[in-house]
Amino acid sequence: MIAGNEEGRAALASLFEDRLTRAGGPLGWRSAPAGEVPGGYWGRLLHVDLARRRWEFLPLEEQLLRRTIGGGSLGAALLHRWCPAGADPLGPENPLLLVTSPLLGTPLTTTAKYTVVTKSPLTGFITDSLSSSFFALALKGCGADAVVLTGRASQPTWLELDGSGVRFHDARALWGRPAGEAARTLRDRLGRRVRVAAIGPAGERLVRFATISNDRRHAGRGGVGAVMGSKNLKAVAVHSGPVPGAADPQALLEIAARVRERSLGPATLKYRSLGTTANVALFNRLAALPSYNFRRSTFDGAERLTGETLAAERRVKRLSCAGCTVGCEHVFKSAKTGGAGRLEYETLFALGPLLGVSDPDAVLQSAQLCDLLGLDTISAGGTIAWALEAEEKGLFARAGFAPLQARFGDGEGVARLLTSIAERRGVGDLLAEGSLRAARTVGGGSEHYAMQVKGMELPGYEPRSLQTMAVGLAVGSRGACHNRSGAYEADFSPGVDRLRADETRGRLAAESEDRSSLMDSLVLCKFLRHCFEDVYEQGAEMMRAVTGWDVTPAELRTTAERATSLKKAFNLREGWTPADDTLPERILTESLPSGVAAGVSLTREDLRMMIDAYYEARGWAKDGTITPATRQRLDLAGVLGESS
């Protein structure tokens, strides 16, 4: 099952051409950019007003594009401009942004990604959520670098986009259906060259951790699906069209060949052979696998859920996103139903050990339910874990709620709760609000068991046994997130004692966040990260070939740093305070009971010390605000469109 170099090369040599041709129509990247617009960009955005059923293309300044590149960074700048201060995340004034990037649509592997940016209904702060594959490629051909969706349609609507504009359609017949089903319906109607992103029932019902789905992939975190639902928008269908040309197509081809070669080597073997499911066994051994709502960091039933076991017993096939040579998606079959579904580490963790569930069939069933309903698996698992513990402690009954009728280890009970959340039925209506809001409603000290940061549930990285990651999780602009901070890499490095805190972690966390920011701006999949000796240097090389700009590694370092401050600037405007950069009470007051981390704890003071060091590394003030000097150095005012 492990793709060797030769197999990969032979199989994938034609993949790009084939997939790009199918998804992107004429290979636009081959032609040099036209006129004044830099390569890889359209130099404009598409604004769609759903209330007035109008659309328009608006210019994007080259300076803005150069200083943010694309993806989450460009999205942060645009959100700042388009979202009124204090906007209700589920109100018509909150824009939903679909943002592309300059590398998207080129032959560079793993670049078929787009970013959904909005003010999160889960956190009240910015969220930027990536998804990938064919829809991203099609979106790049829609004639704009970003689509800004504002207002609320008067009835369920779906949009049809092509390079020339937008058509509005009645979506009442699609309402209530899973995203995948809605997409199939629209593609049957419009043709196979159309790609669709859609919400499921959870998004329609404004579940605060609902997803947007396309091509089996999901923009998962932060409730972007609820924002789409709040606009009465079921789906966006995009006709594949030509993409902007690259400044130096020949240089780009040479770089793409080199990266592709590396992407088939040892640096990605883990993803090709097992995907992130490989993390289960390792994290369990390292006492970094949260279980039973973070009461433990090992899980007795982990062996049944390890990637190694799943691969041996029930793997069906391996898939990849469009234009990707890695192929990290591993599909497993259920021994119970015979059905098959994709599993990766976060889903395994959140619907397995976190809930005390060790039955792979139960986890697979829950994962498939989340996909069908349109639920973020991490927040769904985290919220249910909170509920199971609150129930165990009698807090639901004390607050006058009906019994939950589920317990830790009860896969069937979890499946029932997932459905009730998406339908906002019974206690599901409460859980659809996420763990923090639900805990505030239930009260009785249940906030102690809500494992979230800024309202976003923690991913499967135990902060007490990964104390650099603890900083990354605490300070993350969109809440607890393992994608915006890869600080766990520092914890897994020589010379770092992951079970202890020290001041160096602030800088390590900031550096990790910057590398992630760069990859999320270009955009490149982070599974390539070990394919580069220096992602800034190789990123600059790619940017020069695509855009024609004289981009340097130093410029990209500043751009990456700017991305974090842009998001922070938005959060500051929306009421961020230092108290938001912290970890759940449990993490800071309870020690770990098992495994190699038995007895390990993380104190509030230690976390504070590391966060202070992080602010200092960022050039921020001691209270976490952005200093005038840093604002000026990063030209935040210019990028945010404010007068300086």
Partner: protein, 279 residues
């Protein structure tokens, strides 16, 4: 495993000698198990042997020496050939045993020559030699070395041995209390690699134990791993055990390192994992 010797110079049964916290016989049988699917112990009639879980054959000819043991093994093991070793080889390297078995293919026997001496009690014998063994026993020519004149014998030379046992640990044996004391002093450090992700898939197992001569360094342990789990060579380790930059080691799940000069202690657990640990 030929355990039926009289241990006359040792003055106590070798099979029971405490070695690294276990009877010597158990230790050597464990090493054989890491090399072969099927292990049998040949003991003398009525001989008290530590429990190893392996089938015990009784040769009934204890006084006639190891050749009788080889005969019992060839008759009773049920395999076309046997790797015969005496139980006083406490540092037997499974990689060498496997290597020998491989080199013996197509020959009647394979015998290593180490430091200019042939070692017929660390050798592979085919059942094709059974008639010759019977005849030698009948003629009372009891030294196993006589068997080497009886067929097509593949001599395994020192450079071939070094590929699988670079320190020649397998050839350390002990016949007297002094040699035993010296061997105990020189017990290599035993560490266990725990394999995660691709290394586990490639090796087809989750753990590999290796012996590392003192002073035990991570580099030596990795080199031993490359010999013990050759499927890792290529994508995870090179032939010298140097890991690809895509992999790193955690010592006991606490400290991550790529320092091949890192000293190891007996019982250390070495986690071999992808450097892309995490998402």
């Amino acid at each position: 495993m030929l355990a039926g010797g009289l241990s006359s110079r040792m003055q106590r049964p070798k099979a029971w000698l405490p070695f690294g916290g276990q009877p010597l016989l158990v230790r050597v049988v464990e090493a054989l198990r890491r090399a072969f699917e099927h292990v049998v112990v040949v003991g003398a009639e009525g001989q008290d042997l530590p429990f190893t879980g392996a089938t015990v054959l009784r040769d009934g000819l204890a006084a006639r020496g190891p050749l009788a043991g080889i005969q019992a093994a060839l008759i009773g093991a049920g395999t076309p050939a046997v790797f015969a070793v005496s139980c006083d080889a406490p540092f037997l390297q499974p990689a060498l045993a496997r290597h020998m078995a491989h080199l013996a293919e197509g020959h009647d026997a394979a015998v290593p020559r180490w430091q200019d001496r042939l070692h017929p009690l660390l050798a592979v014998y085919s059942t094709r030699l059974l008639p010759a063994v019977s005849r030698l026993l009948k003629e009372d020519r009891l030294r196993p070395v006589f068997l080497l004149d009886e067929g097509d014998v593949r001599i395994v030379e020192e450079d071939e041995i070094l590929a699988a046992d670079p320190h020649g640990l397998s050839f350390c044996n002990m016949n007297s209390p002094d040699e035993y004391a010296a061997a105990v002093e020189a017990i290599p450090v035993r560490v266990t690699f725990e394999l995660f992700g691709p290394p586990r898939l490639l090796a087809g197992g989750s753990e590999v134990a290796v012996d590392v001569p003192r002073p035990a360094l991570l580099g030596s342990a990795l080199a031993a791993l490359a010999r013990e789990a050759p499927a890792l060579v290529g994508s995870v380790l090179d032939v010298h055990g140097i890991p690809s930059p895509a992999y790193l080691v955690s010592v006991n799940g606490r400290e991550f390192t790529v320092d091949r000069g890192r000293t190891l202690a007996d019982g250390d657990r070495l986690l071999l994992l992808s450097a892309s640990a995490g998402g």
